[in-house]
Symmetry: C2
Subunit: 408 residues, 2 copies
């Protein structure tokens, strides 16, 4: 190996399903100098970041923190802390990430029950109601936006259903938070997790999480302060969480007034997570959601203007990503490579049954902007034509521009 030079990534416009290009101010925040773990500036920054994320989640939950890991770290922390071995967990699956929730619940030794709809659809409330009444789960785990299919599951009527049946309601909003409506308290959620690398416009590696009082009560009933820092009178529940790193009780004690040593907070990721929330709230929560809607509509019109067929139930699509069927005869991966190599633009394919069948094109965070949308459409037009697909000249850019004109 030649001795490597300082990191110098190529220019990339990340228009896939995420991770996407971070906001420049998030990147700047992540080069800020470090401070000590219990520096007053550090603890104040942690507290401030909690308050910012309460606003992002639309919640009053005191228990609003970050888990130090990627989005699935947040999922596993929620699952393993809220679910005791043998507890029933209901997972409605409408894509790859529903399978992931079931998988993680199973590893947490839950009794996992699933219901499924075909990829490209979401669940009607009635299907969730029937399953809750049949399974009587301890926890309902339901992704909001499944990036594998681009579908957005409506959650607004499900909290009430859960409350009426004594079920904890958990959602993973990694793919959707910031780009689509999300109302933690109004929708009656007990736990929600996310990552930074989608609409929040940061890098993967920090997982915002929020927990209702009911969720915290379950977690507190399982508290065991770790040996080495345990003091007389500290709780040591016998059904303690079978993970130290993901024991949300200890994570809450670290973020809370007791500041009990657990992990060493990932300072640079904290700076990044804080800036993601800060830029979102500075622009305005609703304004950011509207921006995602506008550019999502422009991209949707644009791909249709190129003659592409959109995958799935468009009425239930997330604002921030669209899946299109790869036209007959076009080699999907070669076309994606041409987008990357010639134009520096990344688009994605998908998982499982959709791998090689669809491309996924995102418009999120920093990249939910006109120039990013139009560059992607113009480049995609060129690439489609090169691979022999019939494509109307300028059809994509024109259709997107129609959306922008109508909105202005």
């Amino acid at each position: 190996m030649t001795f490597p030079a300082p990191i110098d990534p190529p220019a990339r416009l990340l228009m896939g399903p995420g991770p996407i290009s971070a906001y420049p101010s998030v990147l700047r925040a992540m080069s800020a100098p470090l401070v000590g773990q219990y520096d007053p500036f550090m603890t104040a920054t942690m507290t401030e970041t909690q308050e910012l994320y309460r606003q992002v989640w639309a919640t009053d939950n005191d228990a609003t923190v970050l888990v130090d890991g990627t989005s699935r770290a947040g999922i596993e922390a929620a699952m393993i802390s809220l679910v005791r071995p043998g507890d029933r967990v209901l997972v409605p699956i409408f894509g790859r990430f529903g399978h992931l929730l079931a998988e993680i619940a199973e590893r947490a030794m839950a009794e996992v029950h699933t219901i499924e709809v075909p990829w490209g659809e979401v669940f009607p409330v009635s299907a969730v109601r029937d399953a809750i009444e049949r399974v009587k789960p301890h926890l309902l785990a339901l992704v909001q936006g499944d990036t594998s299919t681009t579908m957005l599951q409506p959650l607004d009527e499900i909290g009430e259903l859960c409350r009426a049946n004594g079920v904890l309601f958990y959602t993973d909003a990694t793919a959707s938070l910031g780009g689509n409506a999300f109302e933690m308290d109004a929708w009656g959620l007990d736990a929600a997790t996310a990552g930074l690398q989608k609409c929040l416009g940061g890098p993967s590696g920090s997982a915002p999480i929020s927990l209702s009082d009911a969720a915290v009560e379950v977690i507190r009933s399982r508290t065991r302060i770790e040996a080495g820092i345990r003091e007389a009178g500290d709780p040591t529940a016998s059904d303690f969480v079978r993970s130290n790193y993901f024991d949300l009780g200890m994570i809450l004690d670290y973020w809370g007034p007791r500041r009990l040593n657990h992990h060493t907070e990932a300072t640079t990721m904290l700076y990044g997570a804080r800036e993601c929330a800060r830029v979102l709230l500075l622009e305005g929560r609703d304004a950011v959601i509207d921006r995602h809607r506008l550019h999502g509509e422009a991209m949707l019109a644009g791909v249709r203007g190129l003659g592409l067929t959109v995958f799935g139930d468009v009425a239930h699509k997330m604002s921030n990503v669209v899946a299109v069927e790869i036209p007959e005869g076009v080699p999907g991966d070669a076309a994606r490579s041409a987008m990357l190599d010639d134009f520096g633009i990344e688009i994605g394919t998908s998982f499982g049954p959709l791998h090689g069948r669809v491309w996924r094109i995102g418009t999120m965070g920093y990249n939910a902007r006109t120039d990013a949308v139009l560059q992607t459409l113009a480049s995609l037009e060129t690439v489609l034509r090169r691979f022999g697909a019939p494509v109307p000249a300028g059809g994509g850019v024109e259709a997107a521009n129609d959306v922008y004109r109508a909105a202005s």
Copy 2:
């Protein structure tokens, strides 16, 4: 809350037991733009980072990767992937982090056996041998440097002992790696974990890990590819790891040629981890260890020159941190606050029996340098005098300078 401004941390010289001030080039690396998860640049950077860490660990282990989380994420990944429920784990404890290894092993449902020496000492090889022969563990888990006591456990004769007894040998080197000798292969280690926030000079949030072929064999015997991406013929062991996030089999498949989707690699932390290893290897592995030894000796001489008593068995101290007893009558926490508030210098206290009894002063990574050592000693002298401790004028700086003069 007033709407917060962009992050702007106060000037700090972090001379505690870690986290410490990052190398400036590491901070710069962490503001580099993101690329996609399967961008050729991304996968090349992952591969390059693996090769850099093989050199840092002094190993040929193919299975040398990062776990996306803080150092204890690496510990938990090693423990939960290598230990089946009911397996015997032997943990020799000589400080707070030995307790942590035992705690994490217990949460992994191991049958945990411990031996202890008083804080401030390390284990003679004979004590480890006796315990191995008595307990016959599946895994020996032993920290190399326990930051709570500053002690460095000699590991060089223990690998052979483990091999002879069919025991897997795991160490956590978070506090010591980069600042003290470490020889993964020569010492016969099967697993080793670390963090960036000590001698490697980066932020917390990424955990380098390396695994021998024997360790990988145990992990592979438990492989279960997760639902949602599992294909026909993929393994689904019944004694699968009871964590998805920390299943090293899946993490290795993500870093390996199959590039099987698991988490979304924390790109910015990857950039930081890569730069930590790069600057270390650019300066030279031995040169960095020598630098830590020199500045550690200067700090040791300096604190003695201030009339302070060093805690523990100095012959077995890590190079990169020293613990001193807080002089009678000096309020330890108030003095630390004065160091921080007046001089912008952070020093630490410790945990459990040593909390409020010692200060810990680090000289590691970027801060293993003359100006950092001398500023700390001069400032500490002022603070000690203010709190009424008898202290020889200039005694700390002078003693440290004697060490520098003798070395030059």
